[in-house]
Amino acid sequence: MSKVVACYKWVADEADLRIDADLSVDFSRVKGKISDYDKNAIAEAVNIATAWGEKAVGLTFGTAKAKQSVKDALSRGLEEGYWINADEAADADGAAVAKALAAVIQRIDDVGLVVCAEGASDTFARQVPSRIGAVLDWPVVTSVMKIEIAGNGLMTVRRLDDCMQTVKVQLPAVIAVLPEINTPPIPGLKAVMAAAKKPVHEFKGGDLGINFTPKTKAVEFKGYVMARKNVIFKEGEAADKVRELAAALRKEGVL
């Protein structure tokens, strides 16, 4: 069989974002993370590669900050890291991201499968895996919650809004997995140490021959705040807090 590529994104942790009074978004205290569900994609890529007796490698597209993701990704069982370093990644849209990832997938020798998560935690646009498939003109299967090896292809179980589907796909292919497909193991100390020694290949965005200009024009980017009463009963006996809440609900007329 051939190599498995796990695509992942280094994202700003949304838990660190602050919305200012003027609704502007404050990124100053933000730490990065591998997008939550991408950890499932990495784990699934490793599982399939192991079953094939092949290598799973990681691939990411990001600004210089994304470099710190590579070691984390490699500690999750991937054998090699590929990362595309591009300033343009800061405002790249799904079209540019997919083209950049596809360009490197084509430069990696003998890829049989690309595994992505359904969406990244920052944009959650759920479009990149399908677009990679289109750029490469490979078959695509999304919403996958189970993968089994079936001869030269894969048998997958998809969860759609109205049904479960069993779908067979020929390789090479792009698969987008749901987070329910596995529970990614937390890397142990040994895996973290070993990650430091694994090969890392860096590509420069400018060398890929891609136009990174976004296809849409962002005309507004602002924080969302909900105006809520925030009346929180925290002191005193449970019975008193309950009485106060019950009184409030009655007054609100929602019962």
């Binding site: 949304e14 959650f124 078959p139 695509v140 976004p214 969302y224 019975a239």
Partner: protein
């Protein structure tokens, strides 16, 4: 033919998008992949229904053919219902067209030759508005527009499928839970619940106030204590009840996205710093195992005491 091209495996969403197209004065062309849909949607106000016939049962595998059709017809917009099938078809078509795709729009409008789309980012913390120039693709959740009526002309055409993916088996998902989008009151349980049996505590409260039971993603997808259609959030149900009460829900942004249109939000959680309290109108900091039985009792009495 120029205009807005529309697809959804959910006929209601398709009808709503047709309504949008007609209201902004565009031709509406519905793509259907089977005769039944073409028939059912015959009076939904589309100008034309293109009935696309091919050899695959998987709509997504016509992405390339759809992209070619959109290009040939000089479509102005491809608007697709935001369901799993729709999202894949939309993104693959956008990939073949190398054009814009705005996913899961929270608003969509048209003015002065531009489509303007709004969407959420960072789990709902940030709102972005984008304008589309030239052919673009959007995916649209249900409930955004009102449908219209009017007869469509049905035109059949043959299309090529990607045969590298084939359907082996389909098993319908039997809906077990209530339709949360219509619920008046909702009691939502989170991972703060220790054991599956403890759902009874939540059910007793729900029963006392006449609420439906719902949950966070982990309760449905990791612990499988409740069916998947009962989890609320950006990847689950979006609700707009009069009253939402959470029990042991931390209130992460992805969950809050699904409840932000609730009239009143109440949170019960042991952790005073849990984000649910920032999203709540009322809250109790406390152990749900202590609070919920007391609250059930108090509200049961109130409901009975209240004069009709």
């Amino acid at each position: 033919m120029a205009g807005i091209y529309i697809y959804s495996d959910n006929n209601e969403i398709a009808a709503e998008i047709i309504g949008f197209a007609k209201r902004v004065g565009k031709e509406a062309v519905l793509l259907a992949f089977d005769e039944k849909t073409a028939e059912v949607m015959g009076n939904s106000g589309a100008d034309k229904i293109y009935l696309l016939n091919g050899e695959s049962e998987l709509v997504e595998s016509y992405a390339k053919a759809v992209a070619e059709l959109l290009q040939k017809e000089e479509a102005e917009l491809f608007a697709v219902g935001s369901t799993a099938r729709g999202r894949e078809l939309a993104a693959r078509a956008a990939g073949y067209l190398d054009c814009a795709l705005v996913s899961d729009v929270s608003a969509l409008s048209y003015a002065d030759g531009w489509f303007l789309a709004e969407r959420m980012m960072y789990g709902g913390l940030v709102q972005q508005r984008e304008s589309l120039d030239g052919l673009g693709v959007v995916t649209v959740p249900g409930g955004k527009f009102d449908p219209v009526t009017g007869n469509a002309e049905v035109i059949s055409m043959a299309v090529q499928a990607d045969r590298r993916v084939s359907l082996v088996e389909t098993a319908p998902i039997v809906r077990q839970g209530a339709d949360l989008s219509q619920a008046d009151k909702v009691v939502c349980v989170g991972m703060g619940l220790d054991k599956e049996e403890d759902l009874e505590t939540a059910r007793a409260l729900a029963e006392a106030i006449g609420a439906e039971i719902a949950c966070t993603r982990g309760i449905a997808e990791e612990r499988h204590w409740l069916p998947a259609e009962l989890y609320i959030g950006i990847s689950g149900a979006v609700i707009k009840p009069k009253l939402y009460v959470s029990l042991g829900v931390s209130g992460q942004i992805q969950h809050i996205f699904g409840i932000r249109d609730s009239q009143l939000i109440v949170g019960i959680d042991t952790n005073e710093r849990a984000p649910i309290f920032k999203a709540a109108d009322y809250g109790i900091v406390g152990d749900l195992y202590e609070i919920v039985p007391l609250l059930t009792d108090a509200l049961k009495k109130q409901t009975i005491d209240r004069p009709e």
